[in-house]
């Protein structure tokens, strides 16, 4: 019953204009003090065919903070990230067990439409992947298909606001009609972030967003992530320990498909409670 209510409530928020929804989300967030749990995963296991990639992962991700997933390659951190917006649904032989609740609603409930879920949970990928369309259309595509705004001034406003939030507006405002693929790598990645923001999500998932960028572009994206956490819950997968330390407030360490440790980032990097975390952070493996 509770699940149903929450779904409907979120649906209502979706139907209102982006501005109202944003204001509402803000009001709700300011009403509740502290960092309440946004995403609650319990006993999540993921299978690719017969092979189990993730073992009973349970984790609470707080709202309006940056949570970093760290761990060696193949440890399942990206797999888990892609469970949060059901991106794994697109992989044929992939099956997910357990529950992931966003604001109390289980996203693997059959009543949940993944299309609506992905509007609330935006995603930024490892390699910048703007559509081979104009910068404007890259941003406008999401709002258009979700019916948030029709073409015209309302859409122009969304495009401008999204680009401003992604700290890209000043660089591209004079060439919105040029292809997004013509931007530099860092600009492309910020364009992808703007594209994710444009549909007004609560949560932004980032899968190694800086691994294809140079250090200057990386710095800009990290700066942006830091600004965005005032409004969005951000989950970031990263290979770089320094990056995790710089941008995240909480960190989760994955190893061989298991979640080993979740803690405040500061604490984990100075005084980890598990030996494996200690070994990974100090560079003994990974």
């Amino acid at each position: 019953m509770t699940t149903l209510d929450t779904t409907e409530a979120s649906g209502m928020i979706m139907n209102k204009t982006a501005e109202e929804a944003g204001a509402l989300a803000k009001a709700v967030s300011t009403a509740k003090a502290g960092h309440e749990t946004k995403i609650a995963a319990s006993k999540v296991s993921v299978f690719y065919g017969d092979k189990q990639a993730l073992f009973d992962v349970s984790i609470d991700i707080p709202a309006r903070q940056v949570m970093a997933f760290i761990g060696p390659s193949g440890c399942g951190k990206s797999t888990f990230l892609r469970c949060i917006n059901r991106m794994n649904d697109t992989i044929d032989n992939c099956s997910v067990k357990g529950t992931i609740e966003i604001d109390g609603a289980n996203i693997y409930d059959p009543k949940i439409d993944p299309v609506l879920l992905r509007a609330r949970v935006g995603m930024v990928f490892q390699k910048p992947n703007p559509f081979p369309k104009s910068i404007y259309d890259n941003i406008a595509y999401g709002p258009r298909i979700h019916g948030v705004a029709k073409a015209g001034s309302a859409m122009d406003e969304i495009v401008e606001r999204s680009l401003q939030r992604a700290a890209l507006w000043n660089e591209v405002k004079d060439r919105l009609d040029q292809p997004g693929t013509g931007l530099s790598g860092g600009q492309q990645q910020r364009l992808c972030i703007a594209r994710a923001i444009a549909v007004n999500p609560d949560i932004i998932l980032m899968d190694e967003p800086c691994s294809a960028l140079d250090p200057i572009a990386t710095a800009k994206v990290e700066e942006l992530i830091d600004e965005l956490r005032a409004q969005y819950t951000i989950v970031i997968v990263t290979h770089s320990m320094q990056q995790a330390a710089r941008v995240s407030q909480k960190a989760a360490f994955f190893h061989l498909g298991n979640l080993i440790e979740v803690d405040e980032t500061d604490k984990m990097f100075t005084n980890p409670s598990d030996q494996r975390t200690q070994d990974y952070i100090t560079g003994r493996f990974g």
């Binding site: 991106m87 044929d92 935006g122 992947n129 559509f131 595509y141 298909i145 979700h146 994710a196």
Partner: protein, 429 residues
């Protein structure tokens, strides 16, 4: 280790090649020579083909015409119904004025053999277009018959003894007199393109075949393009990967290799006999050709869809596009150049396909271009087949000319395909 290395090279300096290395290089050179030889051979064959066809076709570039003064007497044609006049008689009279000495029936028949049967129609069309010509004398230009044409072009050698050539001495003499009087001209042979087929080579043209091929290709495109894309999109983007879809994939690939005559038999059995569709009609030809083109388009479309990077699909799904939106808004538009290239190549194949059209009767002798895709018609390749089978000398060069027209269309279509591939390829990277 270093000891054995120095021993191995012996007294030779390190840069001097040994026999084994020389053999390796020789093998390299041989391989390259074989490759060049193969290409030269292929090019020589192609050049031979093209040059042979061009030389054979050359006489068909022009058509020998004769100019006659014709008097249409007042009473001979009814001005209110100019179509009904006896124009052959009027024409015969003006020929007789040039050759008054010809009077025996045998000679008269031979004389008329020199002029095309189409002369009366040229005259009729002129009078129908302008009835005020009745009662006046005016000039009519119309083709010489095949033997006159061949005589003019030197294909019939007048120096051969009479029993070895197809024209009599009298006919040669009459022809020479026409030349002396400046009545013979040889303009460009537009009739080859704009006339429909005819029993007489000097009147036969490709228009009916061109229209028939156009209709057939149009049907083929309208059927195979949407069906092919729908099938490929489903198989590539939506279908689960299991044994059943594997089976379908294998069968589609096999279908592309099925001999075309088998599709013709299928069309004969299904479209003509079962559905009772009109025989020889471009619509049936188009449907049969679309059966053949479908596998090509499906395979090309799947390849084009596969070439679209998965990151684009992820991006669209990531902002909440449904699968259909992902395909419709992003993947398909990006794959379109590849799809169109494959489609054009498939259509070019279909344009040149003969066997299935023979089976559904598109090799009929039809002297008018089809009004619609339901009328009997020929197609370019079947027209070539018909002409190649005809005994008149004039058809030899016209067959080659028709082959050149067909090749021209094929080259154009393939050029468009290559241009599109170059122009649009990998724009997203």
């Amino acid at each position: 280790m270093s000891d054995t290395a120095t021993q191995g090279t012996g007294r030779r300096a390190w840069y001097e090649p040994d026999a084994k290395l020389k053999r390796r290089h020789a093998a390299d050179r041989r391989l390259r020579a074989y490759g060049i030889a193969a290409i030269v051979f292929a090019l020589a064959m192609l050049a031979t083909l093209v040059v042979t066809i061009a030389i054979t076709a050359a006489p068909a570039v022009t058509q020998t015409m004769v100019t006659l003064e014709v008097e249409v007497p007042e009473g001979a044609v009814n001005p209110s119904d100019p179509r009904g006049g006896s124009y052959q008689k009027i024409l015969n009279e003006s020929v007789a004025r040039i050759f008054p000495e010809v009077d025996t029936p045998r000679e008269l028949r031979e004389l008329r053999q020199l002029f095309s049967n189409g002369g009366q129609y040229a005259l009729r069309d002129k009078v129908v277009a302008d009835p005020s010509l009745i009662g006046r004398t005016f000039e009519v230009v119309f083709p010489l018959s095949d033997i006159g044409d061949q005589l003019h072009k030197g294909v019939i050698d007048r120096d051969l003894p009479r029993d070895q050539r197809r024209v009599s001495d009298e006919q040669v003499g009459w022809y020479d007199r026409l030349v002396e009087q400046g009545r013979i001209s040889a303009p460009l042979n537009w009739g080859l393109i704009f006339n429909a087929d005819s029993r007489f080579p000097e009147l036969a043209g490709l228009w009916g075949a061109l229209v028939g091929s156009f209709y057939a290709l149009l049907i083929c495109f309208l059927v195979s393009f949407p069906v092919g894309i729908a099938a490929a999109v489903y198989l590539e983007e939506f279908a689960p990967k299991n044994r059943f879809t594997d089976l379908i994939e294998v069968n589609i690939n096999n279908l592309a290799a099925v001999p075309s005559i088998v599709f013709g038999l299928l069309g004969l059995a299904v479209f003509l006999n079962f559905f009772g569709m009109p025989r020889s009609a471009p619509i049936v030809g188009g449907l049969v050709l679309s059966l053949m083109t479908l596998p090509t388009i499906i395979i090309a479309t799947r390849a084009a869809l596969k070439a679209v990077p998965p990151s684009i699909r992820e991006a669209a799904i990531g902002v909440g596009a449904s699968r259909m939106q992902t395909v419709g808004h992003h993947v398909l538009p990006l794959a379109m150049p590849g799809i169109l290239t494959g489609t054009i190549i498939g259509l070019a194949q279909a344009l040149g396909e003969t066997a299935p059209l023979l089976l559904i009767g598109m090799n009929a002798f039809i002297t008018a271009a089809p009004d619609s895709m339901f009328n009997p018609s020929t197609a370019l390749p079947t027209q070539i087949y018909i002409w190649a089978d005809s005994p008149e000398r004039g058809f030899t060069s016209r067959t080659s000319a028709a082959i050149i027209v067909l090749l021209g269309f094929l080259v154009c279509m393939n050029a468009i395909a290559i241009y599109m591939r170059k122009r649009f390829e990998r724009r997203w990277s």
